[in-house]
């Protein structure tokens, strides 16, 4: 796949390296130091850093401003953008705002329902859905046009990503849904956290058979488990998460004070196995409020040092 944007992530992938991405959640306040500190912990071990957009519908510092703080310290951000909170005017406006700061990566999402967050009585917008947001960014970038048809001066140059969940129901449309996102114009995918490796490999094999892994870069999502409690919570309470019983049992099988270490080891083993699977273009390491573990995971998985890119 040829390079279409100045994105470092795109260059790394196009050069055939397995990319490493991670993510940081902005603070519930306006101190930029919080986001900078998280970035400092991981900056040498990952290629780019996603900034979440009011994740789980809890109000936080906005993704765009947080991306700007990363950019200023020389870390390449991925702007996450959900369709829950903004209509097409605001989405396009924010895309241009990000482009003005030379933010070169965007991840298009629908976002969790607002009932999970701190503004359960608020409206949701969903003027576009995540596929239509992908189409919008591609239109703005490739044709230099707004949805309304007008011309954009200095169009955005963004590498366009989206999420995919190989584990969610209905199972029968997991690969067709990926195909649909590709048809909409997506260029990279970060998957839901993988604990059920067999199921993930099945999904990827099906995608490969349809030739989809030639058309999109798939970054496998991993999250280290901190405790058996977290494993059970993810298994039972988080929609669309598939944590097999063996993983829970493995976490339960070690004493409490060793569980975090075991979680990291499971994560490292997951990456090691998936590194060898054709179609895995890289890894998205989501260490939720546990950023300090990212360097260890990346090193132990044999993904360090990261390639230098101009």
């Amino acid at each position: 796949m040829s390079v279409k944007t100045p994105s470092k992530l795109e260059k790394i992938l196009a050069a055939g390296h397995q990319a490493v991405t991670s993510e940081c959640g902005p603070p519930r306040g306006s101190d930029p130091e919080v986001i900078r500190e998280k970035a400092r912990l991981i900056r040498d071990h990952v290629d780019v850093v996603n900034i979440t957009d009011n994740q789980t519908s809890v109000t936080r510092m906005c993704s765009l401003a947080s991306c700007f703080h990363l950019k200023q310290m020389g870390v390449e951000p991925v702007l996450q953008m959900v369709t829950r909170d903004r209509n097409r005017i605001a989405l396009q406006g924010d895309i241009l705002g990000a482009a003005s700061m030379d933010i070169h990566n965007i991840l298009c999402l629908s976002g969790d329902h607002q009932s999970f967050g701190d503004c359960a009585t608020g409206q949701n917008v969903h003027d576009l859905d995540s596929m239509q947001l992908i189409q919008t960014v591609r239109l703005m970038r490739d044709e230099g046009k707004f949805l309304g048809g007008g011309d954009i001066s200095r169009p955005p140059e963004m590498f366009v990503g989206a999420a995919a969940n190989p584990f969610a129901q209905p199972h029968k449309i997991r690969v067709p849904r990926l195909a649909k996102k590709i048809a909409a114009g997506v260029e990279f995918i970060q998957t839901q956290c993988i604990y059920n490796l067999d199921r993930f490999e099945e999904w990827l094999a099906e995608a490969r058979d349809r030739g989809l892994t030639e058309k999109v870069y798939i970054l496998a999502g991993v999250t280290p488990l901190k405790s058996v409690g977290m494993a059970k919570y993810m298994k039972n309470r988080v929609p669309g998460m598939d944590v097999p019983d063996e993983v829970v049992a493995r976490m339960a099988g070690v004493p409490k004070e060793k569980q975090a270490e075991e979680g990291v080891t499971i994560c490292v083993e997951t990456i090691q196995r998936l590194k060898e699977v054709p179609g895995v273009a890289g890894f998205h390491v989501m260490a939720i409020e546990w950023e300090e573990k990212v360097p260890e995971i990346v090193e132990r998985a044999g993904l360090y040092p990261r390639p230098a890119m101009p």
Binding site: T83, R84, R88, L109, S110, G111, D112, H113, S115, N124, H126, D127, L128, D129, S130, M131, Q132, Q135, T136, L147, A163, N165, A168, Q169, P170, K172, I173, P176, R177, A179, K180, A183, A184, Q192, P239, G240
Partner: protein
């Protein structure tokens, strides 16, 4: 049909208790079907209010009445006397009926007795479910006859979102995910390949977003 739910009596009582002649006024079509605002419910609410008046030592007079539909002129004749008698009407119609009365009787105070909830069907006795939001440009032909605008919590046109969970919507395990229903029906019809058609960006100007809507038939306006 339009589905509504009676407001708590504390709320409606506070609206009307300081008047001297109150009419509790039922609407005997949609909101009668959902057992909230028909003429029978108007009768019951009026007697509850009379008891309240006695308890609180208030001397207001409360009557009940009702008509077939409060959203059309032609049904009002039989109730004209009751309405003229009242100095306040507690209408048990949907918001459309309440406002129609406001237009028709500008000099009478009309209060809403219901919270109007949604456009829905009678899925089975006692169960009413939302199934349309009158978006003004129906997409049912593209979605296997199941409406993602009203039945998906994020109205995604290319669903399901990542939260679809064992057939249920992420917001509530008792609420079916509209997109699971769409996919299942496409499969049952042997049309699962249609799932891969991208739904275009929707024109929402025919929906609430475009401002209040009107339908005009000149030929009937004389």
């Amino acid at each position: 049909m339009i589905v509504g739910k009676q407001k708590p009596i504390e709320e409606t009582w506070a609206m009307v208790k300081d008047f001297s002649r109150v009419l509790v006024f039922g609407c005997n079509t949609c909101v009668a079907v959902c057992h909230e605002g028909g003429n029978k419910e108007a009768q019951i609410l009026a007697s509850l209010m009379r008891m309240k008046a006695t308890q609180e030592g208030l001397s207001l007079e409360i009557r009940d009445s009702g008509i077939e539909r409060q959203c059309e002129h032609e049904f009002f004749e039989s109730a004209e006397k009751d309405i003229e008698w009242a100095d306040a009407v507690l209408s048990l119609a949907c918001g459309v009926g309440v406002q129609f009365m406001v237009k028709r009787y500008p000099e009478i105070l009309v209060y809403p007795g219901l919270d109007t909830c949604f456009l829905g069907d009678v899925e089975k006795n006692g169960l009413f479910t939302e199934s349309c939001q009158a978006c003004g440009k129906c997409v049912l032909a593209e979605t296997a006859g199941i409406c993602p605008v009203s039945r998906c919590a994020k109205r995604v046109l290319n669903g399901p979102c990542g939260g679809s969970n064992k057939g249920a919507c992420e917001i509530n395990k008792d609420l079916p995910c509209a997109w699971q229903l769409i996919v299942d029906r496409l499969e049952a019809l042997g049309r699962l390949a249609d799932y891969e058609r991208l739904a275009p960006i929707k024109d929402w100007s025919t929906e609430r977003a475009g401002g209040p809507r009107k339908l005009i038939h000149e030929e009937f306006m004389k």
